[in-house]
């Protein structure tokens, strides 16, 4: 998802003249984003109200963000949605720093749709590890601007020069007279003033909260069951709906043979046909679910075979074979030097193919949505989402109302990892809207875990081919990489980007720091028939595994240690050499092994690097074998995000991302057979459990480079570091994930 960042860059300008396609998917997203990008300052200004609404730029209108309460606490309307990444706390630190208000006095909510919140390079979304890095300067400025307005209001009220006033944690102080006014007392007068756009920011040397491990704001609520997620929203008179989806994506209900029987079940209110699904609406969800599971539905027939659709014969194995068998010419995504010439004279050539499976998000909160039409026909919608304006646009279309008649409520997310963008048939909210319309009552649609495993949008099954030319010194002279497949950027935001190369297919294979003089990276598009998604670290989630594992193969072929090879190839980048050295130091020095640990187990280590989402990482994994399975004991991760707002949150996010990366390395795959997903719950789709959780050691390097992302970058280095350790330990080079497919031996 790196590609969503540089919207101002000429090579990724959004397409301005979007045709109105009937398909709700990519078109709606593109439409919305197009509108957002076209929004002129003049338009934004006319939408704002009140005397404070003079600043047209997103992230500048203080009144849209801050409500200062009488007790000097603040309600912050955030552009972002909290889902465990700690953004609410980070924003409170950032704004509180400049406003001079303790972050602990902030209550943060996700703001409704509105142009003020498009702070991610003119867009609004929570994803791509963008939240902090995209909004940091704007949110500092917002806090500083608000503080200046409070000072100005206080100067007027006390009839003293503004320069004679200072602030202290929520109060304006007039030291000369010993008088003080709380922010709450001043708020009404201050927010009526015109904000200045030239307020100086604090000297970072004087930061009290930015850069400090301030405690996250939501710890008590989340430890006592008081945090409210979409699944917890309850409205008076609300009906509950459960659904049975089509067994093959794209097929439709033709007949329901036991509809009368279902309608007669206790508590059942109705049976409704929906696109690709049948819903049972009842007074409680359990009753609705029993009804939905008992439905006897005849579905339209899928195509008999092929991978163009989710056919009766579609399988993940057939899809992988299609990717591997593709002979289409690639589009160059990156080119440097003359690879053909280098290969022609190379003394040694190394080749390998890598693949990684479809993956489920498996966030612990099953997806749901609550829809409620008001008497005037407007719609309230509570739903997990990472992009409120996009959901507002799509919901308006589904409901047949104007977007400004849709009020989007964005509760806390019970995990997201990319799950809650708009993915067409993978979102329950259109069903909730249709059912609320049909019943005239508020309706909650909740997907059972089984329906979620059936309908979740998946990380694409992916495949890459590598060919390296080695010089006589064992160093790679040339590298040819071919990535085959389709990614979520191309699928869902394709109309936005002019580039024919899908960045979400090639990220992690491109823009490497290694000094390999001749390189070519090709992209070959082969579409997936299934619903594909962003998944924590997106293309990096598989591509860094592919690339960094192959780099170890190159090291082995060239007779070089994998750590030493990387250090040699990083000769042009002091930043990366520092990071690699840092992770080695963190791990007590680099040693590949195999070696015998204190507990008598035979172990080995693997190393990897990655450049995800504007940050840099270096990772070392230590692995042993137990019952033919890789056991990861320790992960050492050094991350350089340039600079950080909250080091405690950074460390926990890196650990969290590492756990997900390890889960995907060891255990996870969504398998299709006969056109249907095989795993329907956690018993058949195992995820990392406590027993498999390694120790995770994180070192933060603040190089001062432009701020990078945090939520995702801890992930991509883990799969290759583990797989490289397994190769060192066993001699087995695993070129296909997850490792649970192979029985490991040799230790």
């Amino acid at each position: 998802m790196n590609a969503l960042s540089p919207l101002s860059r000429s090579d990724r300008e959004p397409v301005r003249n979007l045709s109105r396609r009937t398909f709700l998917g990519a078109a709606s997203g593109a439409l919305l984003l197009g509108v957002g990008m076209r929004l002129s300052p003049a338009v934004a200004q006319t939408r704002a109200e009140g005397p404070a609404a003079v600043a047209p730029k997103p992230g500048t209108r203080v009144a849209a963000f801050l409500e200062i309460r009488p007790d000097n606490s603040v309600r912050l309307l955030s552009p972002f949605v909290e889902g465990g990444q700690g953004i609410n706390t980070g924003l409170a630190q950032t704004i509180g720093e400049e406003l001079d208000l303790d972050p602990g006095r902030f209550a943060v909510e996700c703001a409704p749709p509105g142009p003020d919140y498009a702070v991610v390079n003119g867009l609004r979304m929570t994803g791509g590890s963008f939240s902090t890095r995209s909004s940091f300067e704007a949110m500092r400025r917002l806090g500083a601007t608000a503080r200046e307005m409070l000072l100005r209001a206080a100067a007027a009220k006390l009839s003293v020069p503004q320069a004679s006033l200072t602030t202290e944690d929520g109060r304006v102080i007039h030291a000369a007279s010993g008088r003080a006014l709380g922010y709450g007392e001043l708020a009404a007068a201050a927010l009526a003033l015109q904000p200045r756009d030239d307020v100086p920011l604090k000297d970072p040397a004087r930061f009290r909260w930015i850069g400090k491990p301030v405690q996250r704001l939501d710890m008590r609520d989340k430890s006592t069951g008081r945090a409210v997620y979409s699944i917890d929203i309850r409205l008076d008179g609300m009906l509950q709906a459960a659904v049975q989806h089509a067994p093959h994506l794209g097929t439709e209900p033709e007949a329901i043979t036991n509809e009368a029987e279902i309608r007669a079940m206790p508590g059942v209110h109705g049976v409704h046909r929906l696109p690709g699904a049948v819903a049972v609406v009842a007074d409680t969800w359990w009753r609705a679910r029993k009804g939905a599971e008992a439905l006897a539905v005849t579905w339209s027939k899928p195509a008999p075979e092929g991978v163009d659709t989710v056919s009766a014969g579609f399988s993940s194995a057939a899809m992988l074979a299609a990717l591997k068998g593709s002979t289409a010419p690639g589009i160059p995504a990156e080119q440097e030097g003359d690879t053909a010439a280098a290969f022609a004279k190379a003394p040694r050539i190394v080749e390998a193919e890598y693949d990684a499976p479809y993956l489920a998000h498996a966030q612990l909160e099953p997806p749901s949505a609550v829809a409620h039409f008001a008497a005037d026909g407007s719609l309230d919608l509570w739903l997990p989402n990472q992009m409120p304006e996009l959901f507002q646009q799509v919901a308006a279309k589904v409901a047949g109302v104007q977007p400004d008649s849709v009020r989007i409520h964005s509760p806390m997310l019970g995990g997201f990892f990319g799950r809650h963008f708009f993915y067409g048939p993978a979102n329950p909210f259109p069903q909730a809207i249709l059912l609320a319309k049909a019943t005239g009552r508020p309706v909650r649609v909740l997907w059972s875990r089984e329906e979620e495993f059936g309908m979740d949008a998946v990380r694409p099954l992916s495949f890459a081919r590598f060919k390296a030319a080695l010089g006589a010194d064992g160093l790679p002279m040339a590298l040819q990489t071919t990535a085959v497949g389709e990614g979520p950027i191309g699928r869902w935001f394709g109309a936005l980007f002019k580039s024919p190369v899908d960045s979400s297919v090639v990220e992690g294979l491109d823009k490497k720091p290694y000094a390999i003089p001749n390189r070519r990276l090709d992209y070959v598009k082969v579409p997936h028939p299934v619903t594909i998604a962003f998944w924590r670290s997106v293309g990096h989630s598989m591509n860094d595994y592919f690339y960094e594992s192959f780099l170890d193969e190159v090291a082995q072929a060239g007779g070089r240690d994998p750590y030493d090879l990387r250090m040699a190839l990083l000769k042009d980048s002091a930043r990366h050499r520092t990071l690699l050295k840092t992770v080695a130091d963190l791990a007590g020095g680099w040693r590949r092994g195999p070696f015998t640990a204190e507990d008598g187990t035979k172990r080995a280590r693997g190393v990897s690097m990655a450049s995800p989402f504007g940050s840099e990482t270096a990772t070392i994994a230590e692995v042993s074998l137990k019952d033919g399975e890789a056991r990861v004991h320790d992960l050492w991760i050094a991350i350089d995000p340039g600079s950080v707002v909250n080091p405690a949150i950074v460390k926990r996010q890196v650990e969290s991302a590492a756990a997900l990366g390890l889960s995907s390395t060891l255990l996870e795959q969504v398998v299709y057979e006969g056109g249907q997903r095989q795993a329907k719950n956690f018993d058949a789709y195992p995820i990392l459990d406590r027993e498999r959780m390694p120790r995770v050691h994180v070192a933060i390097v603040e190089s001062g480079a432009p701020m990078g992302g945090i939520g995702e970058p801890g992930l991509p280095g883990v799969p290759p570091a583990v797989v490289n350790a397994v190769a060192a330990l066993t001699g087995q080079r695993l070129r296909s994930l997850p490792l649970s497919k192979a029985r490991l031996s040799g230790a």
């Binding site: 430890s223 699944i231 498996a362 612990l364 995990g415 719950n681 995820i687 990392l688 406590r690």
Partner: protein, 148 residues
Amino acid sequence: MITLTINAQPFTVEAEPDTPLLFVLRDSLGMTGTKYGCGIGQCGACTILLDGQAARSCQVPVESVGDQTITTIEAIEQDPVGARVVAAWVGIEVPQCGYCQSGQVMAATGLLKQTPKPTEDDIAGAMTNLCRCGTYNAIAAAVRQAAA
């Protein structure tokens, strides 16, 4: 009509006897702190205490509860062990997305009520709830702190 004792209060609910206690708590009684995650006893997000012992409420038919007392996350701080567990969870900043943490806190409280000084094996045996955010190390640290 089924009578239940939840958090030391009597409740009467109307539900089919095979209805999982989880959905009685969440939908009939509005106690939404207990979470639905998988419905098959795999993830532990729905963990409650039945007579002081951790149980996965999605696997407890409401008819089977009888006169066992039910404790949910809503009342966890009224239990001295539960209050210690919550304090450790907050102090160590365990939660990330937080969705599984009601169940984790209940499982930890159940463990410490049965085994006040658990060994690492005891912790491993009792703390089997899934966490997609990977907070397992923080969870173990918080259990150790609450037991200390």
